[in-house]
């Protein structure tokens, strides 16, 4: 996952390093207004390009001429400005967009990096690398959040723990339910599945076969029946049989179908899930953000599961969705098999993204 992004981050980092490190060595006249003190080893520049015009404008520039002198002479620091990193940032922007990080998320990351880097003073001689790595890592972590451990979550809630799966059509909800069921069983929990997709032809058969293969009880009604009733029965079954976790499948639906979203709200009222997992696919583009926001608004969500990551290892959708709804990513689906599921740990992922060469 994130391979392309990793490469991009690496090249952007290198570029940032070069631009920032080169700064002190720059020739006095090479870039007007970029350069202030010919004799000093370090140089800083004003954020407003307008100041470029005349030499006399020096004193008016934002950080102030005097302050710069103080910075340079007394503290031996230089200040990183907007212009130093603009090119690298627009590189990063393209990289993020190409990795399917949605427009809004890309904006958020860029402005965080910009905010962290510009104006930050760097002692001459300290590693540029650490300044940049920190800024990028913080920007990514601020977007990806803390993450959540599903096993801890289940342990800390009253049984049966009810987990509801929602999402638009064709993102892989039913397969994900089967995978999560398998994952939980392997971790010593008992699971019951509610076949809540009563709309799509063949959906009940699909989850039923999964249940049979995995040896997990699937509660089902007929096609076209009320999904709330199916899931209610599943919860009743779990209570009666002392089952640890109930996984509720639902029919895929678009966020702009009011009546279908209302149906989901009804399910929510009836079974009162402990966790609503929103399922979306890694290959989705900008729409991922819009629909995640809508789902979050109308029925709520507590966590996100990203499927089909094997299809698109860039995984930008993960960043977009999590950024948009501010909920943690708990699992990623990476293939067609029951074991093709991985818990998602933001810290490890970000560390990996920024680790050395791609």
């Amino acid at each position: 996952m994130f391979k392309a992004l990793k490469e991009k981050l690496f090249s952007v980092r290198q570029r940032l390093e070069t631009t920032i490190s080169e700064q002190p060595a720059e020739e006095p006249v090479a870039a007007p207004a970029v350069q202030e003190l010919p004799d000093s080893p370090a140089v800083e520049q004003a954020p407003q390009p307008a100041a470029q015009a005349d030499e006399g404008a020096k004193e008016k520039k934002a950080p102030g001429f005097a302050q710069k002198v103080v910075s340079l002479v007394r503290d031996r620091e230089f200040i990183i400005s907007d212009k130093d990193i603009e090119d690298s940032l627009s590189d990063l922007e393209i990289g993020l967009l190409e990795s399917d990080v949605a427009f809004s998320a890309t904006d958020a990351i860029l402005s965080k990096v910009r905010e962290d880097l510009t104006g930050s003073k760097r002692k001459i001689g300290t590693s540029v690398d650490s300044v940049i790595t920190n800024a990028l890592s913080e920007a990514l972590l601020s977007v990806l959040g803390e993450g959540v451990n599903i096993l801890d979550f289940i342990a800390s809630h009253e049984k049966p723990v009810k987990i509801l799966f929602t999402g638009v059509n064709g993102t892989g909800k039913t397969t994900s339910v089967a995978k999560v069921a398998n994952y939980l069983t392997k971790n010593g929990l008992t699971v019951a599945i509610g076949a809540g997709d009563t709309f799509r032809a063949g959906a009940i058969e699909q989850i039923d076969v999964h249940g049979e293969r995995l040896g997990i009880k699937v509660i089902q009604h007929q096609e076209g029946s009320d999904p709330s009733a199916v899931l209610f029965d599943t919860v009743q079954y779990a209570k009666a049989h002392n089952v640890d976790v109930v996984l509720g499948d639902t029919a895929g639906r678009f966020h702009n179908r009011v009546n279908l979203m209302n149906q989901l709200s009804k399910i929510r009222r009836v079974i009162q899930p402990d966790m609503i997992v929103y399922v979306d696919e890694a290959v989705a583009g900008n729409d991922a953000v819009i629909r995640a926001e809508e789902f979050s608004k109308s029925v709520g969500m507590d966590a996100v599961m990203l499927t089909k990551v094997d299809m698109d290892p860039k995984g930008g959708a993960a960043i977009s969705i999590v950024q948009a709804v501010g909920k943690p990513l708990i699992f990623i689906g990476v293939g067609q098999g029951y074991d093709d599921i991985m818990p998602f740990e933001p810290k490890a992922i970000v560390a990996d993204l920024l680790a050395g060469e791609a």
Partner: protein
Amino acid sequence: MLGNLGTNLKDALKKLAGKTVIDRVAVEELVKDLQRALLQADVNVKQVMQLSQTIKKRSLEEEPPKGVTAREHVLKIVYEELVHLVGGKVDVQLGRQTILMAGLQGSGKTTTTAKIARYFKKKGLRVGVICADTFRPGAYTQIKTLCDRVQVNCFGNPKETDARKIVAEGLQHLKDEVIIVDTQGRHALEDELIQEIIDLNEMTHATHRWLVLDAALGQQAREQARRFHEAVQIDGVIITKMDGTAKGGGALSAVSETGAGIVFIGAGETVEDLEWFDPDSFISRLLGMGDLKALAEKVQESIKEEDIDVNAMLSGKFTLRDMYKQLEAVNKMGPLKQVLSMLPLGGMEVPEGAIDVTSTKMERYRIIMDSMTSKELDDPTVLNGSRVQRIAMGAGATLEEVRELIKYYKMMKRTFKNLKGGEKGMQRLMKKFGRFS
């Protein structure tokens, strides 16, 4: 957010209004907004960059013809370049043929297969479907249920795990004119499955190989389409789930990778929800603004007072006749949602249901209204049970459909009445209605 996008683009276009000389700054601004719009719509990043370069170059270099304003000139260029990107319509031949469906997991192949089967069936051809998805549990039940619903033959065997074997048997078994082979979802990185579809393509001597793509597909679309094309030479693209909010920009990469046009658009969950691809409305959706072609061709002039009597509408005297005209106008201008989005409603809430109408349904409404008398059109209150029955019979529609139309009419009427309440909005609305810019 998306609303803003359309507005930005419109603002940029507005800056060009009335200018006779193309202003570099304005063009650059326009191109930047265009880029944003297209990137938001998931069009491939490289394609966007290329397109904006071309538009910029052409806008600045080409001399606008006499009598054409700078704005119209640039609009025309934008439109032409977008049409170039989107590709033209693809004609579907009616006759003996075999169609192989290909696509990623969860893109909607099976549902689309049923929709296409229904399409050919309605055209009077005998259709048979082979279920070659041996992987996903319930796949056969799904396609069988859908095929039964549209009454076409379906061949499959949920116990068999070899797709090649099923297809071989199916080809022997089915004697229909149109054979559609529904395959298992697969993606570019699954070599074994790619090999499988290559084999299936050879076995079936497929006349067409259609790639089914989810409208929400992002930058990955290009790579996936490339791989599918390499494997089986895709000659048609179907975009599904256009009833959501996704713009379908990813599918454009597929078009440019395969050189194949877009055949159908899937816009709903039932088997009827299949539409022809219309480049104009597709582009307008991509940009989140009204029909660019309509703008480019100065259609605004054709939407005159007699077309839509805004005053009557707002005074609450909105009759079925007005709605008929409105639907006709909508045909020219693109979906109602976008028409409404172009109006300065000042954030007024328009009921979901009022704009939640597909173009197919619009067409049905028009047909039903064609079966009404003048009296009914002018004064819908006269509609009673026996009139509804007569209309339904005349239009070949069900009673429910006619009632639904009346319900829709009432909702529209209420909407316009509320619009009037939105005081200031009305003045501006009337002004704007004349010239959509």
